[in-house]
Assembly symmetry: C2
Homo-oligomer: 363 residues x 2
């Protein structure tokens, strides 16, 4: 087991990553203060890990909520289900919520923890690659609005993140690949050496070689912890973590939540950001190809859905949280490992590129 701290003053917390952590009672004992624990998980993960986790909690008073799995159920109604159980069990402010599962479960459970009695503790036990390398770290919680992704939420840091890489063995290959989109993102933002390492080790990663997986998970947690520590509430550089996400959220919303996995939409979104960076003269075209090749090897889409129009993209992107007084800030790249934020770009060129996408998508 290795530990990476997220340094946020009073709100600092450790990320534990390694094998056989989900059933390690000492980790829970260290981070549970009150008697009452509510485990929130989903219908995919419950049959695999819920019982094992509960048995590792010792003599706490444990209750559980099993949510319907899928991004399309990341709604305020799901959060209400969590509130209802907390109230039915008379759980008080000293209670803890444990989020067991992927990013959707963590986001829902985290927002419930942020808002129940104006804030209770919560522990992240991510079981997907995407959640382990990205969504469980950093305190962003929330749910989707029918008109926009992650529009309702709060910043609420967990008290610990317990990332057991053994759980990735049961993850469907498609979801594992989706996680690799976020892994790749860190290389593109500010870690060019990691991007090269990833290119060299992708086959081992796809074969779930434990040492390679552990190194990838820990590296990503370290990269994210550094960015979050520097800018907890995304007033500046933290927005770089949204590389590919503005385009990606538009794709998810357009095709319907859950049709494309979040990581798949991000992969296509990263490629759009790369292409627009090259078109705008920020980045060599050759690097776009390098990025596309890596994502393609990871079995990820590198083009948006053929049926999406430029108008649809721009309409959905206009609702992005990075819009300020109707101006959308984009995350673009000056090269691999050189992401930057800009609101100075050629809107006409963006429109034109998006209009030409569907033809490309056929390839």
């Amino acid at each position: 087991m290795k530990t990476q701290d997220v340094e946020l003053g009073e709100r600092s917390y450790p990320i534990y990553a390694g094998k056989a952590l989900l059933t390690d009672p000492s980790l829970y004992a260290r981070h549970l203060s009150g008697r009452n624990v509510l485990v929130v998980t989903d219908s995919n993960v419950a049959p695999l890990y819920l019982q094992a986790l509960i048995e590792s909690l010792g003599n706490h008073n444990v209750s559980q909520v099993v949510l319907q799995a899928g991004e399309e159920f990341k709604t305020l109604d799901a959060v209400s289900t969590v509130y209802d159980e907390l109230m039915a069990q008379k759980f008080d402010r000293s209670s803890t919520i444990i989020a067991l599962g992927g990013g959707v479960t963590g986001d829902i459970a985290g927002f419930a923890a942020a808002s129940f009695q104006r804030g209770i503790q919560f522990l992240q036990v991510p079981t997907t690659l995407l959640a382990q390398v990205d969504s469980s770290v950093g305190g962003k919680t929330g749910v989707n609005h029918p008109r926009g992704k992650n529009m309702i939420g709060a910043f609420h840091q967990p008290t610990a993140v317990i990332a057991d890489i053994d759980t990735l063995q049961t993850l469907p290959a498609r979801e594992y690949s989706a996680g690799l989109a976020e892994v790749t993102k860190y290389g593109l933002i500010n870690q060019p050496a990691f991007f090269d390492w990833l290119s060299d080790n992708l086959e081992s990663l796809l074969q779930l070689d434990p040492d390679t997986v552990a190194e990838a998970v820990l590296s990503c947690c370290r990269f994210k912890a550094e960015i979050v520590a520097a800018d907890e509430r995304e007033s500046g550089q933290r927005a770089l973590l949204n590389l590919g996400h503005t385009f990606g959220h538009a794709i998810e919303n357009a095709v319907g939540y859950g049709v494309w996995l979040h990581g798949e939409a991000v992969a296509a979104g990263i490629c759009l950001a790369a292409r627009f960076s090259a078109l705008s003269g920020f980045m060599p075209h050759a690097q776009v190809t390098t990025i596309e090749k890596l994502l393609h090897r990871a079995n990820l889409p590198i083009h948006p859905p053929a049926e999406m129009t430029a108008a649809q993209f721009l309409e959905l992107m206009s609702r992005d949280k990075k819009v300020r007084d109707q101006v959308l800030t984009l995350v673009l790249m000056r090269g691999i490992g050189k992401a930057f934020l800009t609101s100075s770009y050629d809107r006409e060129a963006l429109h034109q590129m998006l209009a030409e996408q569907p033809a490309k998508a056929a390839t």
Copy 2:
């Protein structure tokens, strides 16, 4: 106009109190940063003040939501209505919500502001006595769960509070009296001289004498600002502001939200806290009578509903946010102006006192 600052470091903000403030464009101009403004109000207040407020906002892009008035509508559904309008208007993170109305409106609008895109700015324009002296100050936002009051919410400080005492002229007498329960509360917590001033000036207050009202509102804002500045997130002394509220919330929940006004339930709750303080030997019985007399003169109930049983009280109080691992902390008094927190009290005596209440309530 007088100004009282709430000192909270980066989150500090001013409370303006006085006449003709609601239509003062300079106050809004000073505190609105982005272009977009959503005014949230209710069906009682909209016909009285919505148009006047909107006309004072200059050339901002203004939208509005009119909620159904009443505590029974302080629900997650009401918050959703606010999200829906924000999304329909494509309002972004630089938008501001203005809460125009009483405590219910401020609580709903404030929680929407806390959670929309993980937090946008909001301005409180309280139009009831209760909101001006209590709920608009201090950053507590939230809504009720069917099983418990204010169970869902967040701490989210406003950017300013604009308390126009002229609006109290249109407040129904019953609601004005309800506000006086919270005014009295400050005297009981730690301001014995203010309690005496209140006894001496109650008739002027009930007659809405402008100078007396202004003095009462400003004094209460000052008292609350001091307590909030010392303990923003209620880890200790701020809980004294809940004097009468644990009993009061149980009453509101038992009779159904909106049947008793919040301030009415707090008045009866204060009397229960006073009686239990005297029964427990903390406070002279004569002071209980003094408190009851003042609240009675303010046209407030001093007994809980006759039909409420001790079992019902204890069941509902067991869901209070001040419960920690099944132990309920109470706010009691060692005398007028000497409130304190304790979890060491005779539970049997509390049960007995509550069991005897219904008989008394007939008086």
